[in-house]
């Protein structure tokens, strides 16, 4: 392993993109509107594309000759480093939208700032992903507004979604050791600065959506260090099934 901290940093983002992409893919064929079914597949596709870049870089750093798919298929939950937010169930459309919104407000600023990483590969990944994230946050933000400021039912559902997910929001911007070190060493992003921008964005959109920003600052955490909710295990048992059942094959 060339650089353990860099590896962890990369894996963290790879895993978050993958798991969120996987969750969104569950909607495929079941969306509330055909156009939004397509939109969710699209974002899922982007996220899977992003995670492949991250995993390929992770494999290079790790330098054990593993492929991206081996990294994905042969780790158990405790080795996954995604934030807990992305493993939360889809719930109703409001919940999916709000989960996405919480993630997108993070990732759009994350990639925007990561473009200045002194690690060229990270900067390159960021450059490509930032464009996508801009589209994502536009989509999820618009829907937050539409649902928040739509009917009474949709407003209530959005409130319930916020209630459900708010406590998973903070992990994204609360640096763990890996992130602190990554920032110090100049290749990672300054999460404090990011948090400010993101909080402003969240406030702006929720306000337009006639929704309130919750006051609670309590946040679940640990996903980035391998401690997850009970959902992840089930996600992985599907995600990894074929590779586990027939190891070592080409597909």
């Amino acid at each position: 392993m060339k650089d353990q901290n860099l590896y962890n940093y990369v894996l963290q983002h790879a895993d978050s993109s993958l798991i969120l992409g996987q969750r969104l893919a569950e909607w495929c064929g079941h969306g509330p509107i055909l156009e939004q079914d397509i939109a969710m597949s699209n974002i899922s596709l982007d996220l899977i594309g992003q995670c492949r870049m991250w995993y390929q870089y992770a494999a290079e750093i790790q330098d054990e000759g593993k492929s991206e798919d081996e990294i994905v298929a042969f780790r158990d939950a405790w080795d996954y480093r995604n934030v807990q937010l992305v493993e939360q169930p889809n719930g109703d459309f409001a919940q999916t939208i709000f989960r996405q919104f919480l993630f997108d407000t993070y990732s759009v600023h994350f990639y925007e700032m990561l473009i200045n990483s002194k690690d060229e590969r990270l900067a390159a990944i960021a450059g490509k992903s930032h464009k996508e994230a801009l589209y994502h946050v536009k989509w999820s933000g618009d829907w937050v507004i539409r649902l928040g400021d739509g009917t009474e039912e949709s407003h209530d559902r959005m409130k319930a979604a916020i209630d459900e997910l708010w406590s998973y929001s903070g992990e994204l911007t609360k640096p763990n050791e890996t992130e602190t070190k990554a920032f110090e060493e100049g290749y990672g992003v300054n999460l404090a600065a990011l948090k400010e921008k993101r909080d402003a964005k969240i406030r702006e959109i929720l306000t337009e959506a006639t929704l309130e920003v919750p006051e609670s600052t309590y946040t679940h955490e640990g996903g980035k260090d391998g401690r997850h909710t009970e959902h992840l295990g089930y996600i992985l048992s599907d995600l990894q099934f074929l590779q586990r059942a027939y190891p070592g094959q080409e597909w």
Binding site: Q56, Y57, A59, E60, G65, K66, S67, E68, D69, E70, P247, G248, Q249, E250
Partner: protein
């Protein structure tokens, strides 16, 4: 489960500009695992830019010689073949999976068989091993090979084939079919297709008395061989196929297009009664090039399915990549899809007013 072993490269030859012949050293403890039958192939594995690339290569050496050699033709943009042609060197270790495949028939010195093979390009690799092993093992058998290539300079194994011809004079017949170089008989100009095979049958081999046919090369050629032999009444179990398609090649995902070689020609298109002529010096489709030259030709899918770009070929020849749209009778009438067409002759004339 696929088990790979590290083998050391002991020799690299460069039979043509676009291919390498790679020989591996097989250590004693792997000798058994790496025993092979003529026609089988190896899977080589290499991490290229973080991607785990695995590609199959037929063994071109003879099992009798206990040597393990593959020939790898370079494809533009091809991941493994480019690596093998440009970076691989003697002494390197390559991850190799033991021989497998079913592209062979059992040999028997008692046999007095007649075999025919159709190969093109790198499709020769398993065939040459089959031919040599057969001729050496079955003294009473004879072999006929039709071998398609673009031009003489790209023929892999040219010398080895000549040597075989000399050694097994009377038992081995070899016919080169070239698509980009003119030969005397039209029978040997162009690609191996249904028509050509019809021409060969009866003339160079008797379809009825041939015991086994082998064919290896691009998908179109093989489908042509298969369908034409069937037309000639050959039972299926005598036709042996080996397909080379790469996992991301022609049949692959949407992000990979088929690549073409650059070519030169003069193109004339007729539309709404007007005709215009322009030079072609490109690797793009005729439709695209016409467009670049200001011709406003009809098209819609550019994928060979909608036939919006259909036109009549009035002069010269073209090669078509994909055709989902035109029926056989339409093809026979000379219709082609311009979005899928590439010039094969120096002059090509297409009429869109039909």
């Amino acid at each position: 489960m696929a088990k790979f072993h590290s083998l050391r490269v002991t020799e690299i030859l460069r039979p043509t500009e676009e291919s390498v012949e790679v020989t591996f050293d097989v250590p004693d403890d792997l000798r058994e695992a790496f025993t092979f039958i003529q026609g089988q192939h190896l899977t080589l594995k290499k991490d290229i830019n973080g991607e785990d690339i695995r590609r199959s290569y037929s063994i071109c050496s003879c099992p009798i010689d206990e040597q393990l050699t593959v020939a790898i033709k370079k494809l533009d943009g091809g991941a493994f073949s480019t690596y093998a042609n440009e970076e691989l060197k003697v002494g390197d270790e390559v991850e190799v999976n033991p021989p497998h495949g079913h592209f062979y028939v059992p040999l028997d010195p008692e046999n007095a068989n007649s075999y025919v093979a159709f190969a093109s390009g790198s499709g020769i690799t398993p065939i040459i091993s089959i031919i040599e092993t057969t001729l050496r093992t079955e003294p009473e058998s004879e072999f006929t090979l039709f071998y398609g290539n673009r031009r003489t300079s790209t023929i892999i194994f040219q010398e080895r084939l000549e040597a075989l011809k000399n050694r097994y004079m009377g038992r081995f017949s070899l016919y080169h079919v070239l698509s980009k170089e003119r030969q005397e008989s039209d029978l040997f100009n162009g690609r191996i297709n249904e028509e050509k095979i019809q021409g060969y049958a009866g003339r160079f081999f008797d379809p009825e008395s041939v015991d086994h046919y082998f064919t290896c090369g691009p998908e179109e050629m093989m489908l042509a061989v298969q369908s034409e032999l069937k037309n000639l009444g050959v039972p299926e179990e005598r036709i042996h196929l080996e397909l080379f398609t790469s996992p991301v090649g022609k049949l692959g995902g949407r992000d990979k297009e088929i690549t073409h070689e650059k070519a030169h020609a003069e193109i004339t298109v007729v539309l709404d009664g007007n005709s215009m002529t322009f030079p072609y010096d490109s690797d793009k489709s005729i439709l695209d090039v016409a467009f670049d030259n200001g011709a406003d030709l009809p098209y819609a899918c550019k994928g060979g399915v909608c036939s919006t770009c259909v036109c009549k070929l009035e002069e010269g020849e073209v090669e078509m990549d994909v055709n989902y749209a035109l029926e056989p009778d339409e093809l026979e009438r000379g219709l082609v899809l311009s979005c899928q067409s590439y010039p094969k002759t120096d002059k090509v004339k297409l009429n869109f007013d039909v």
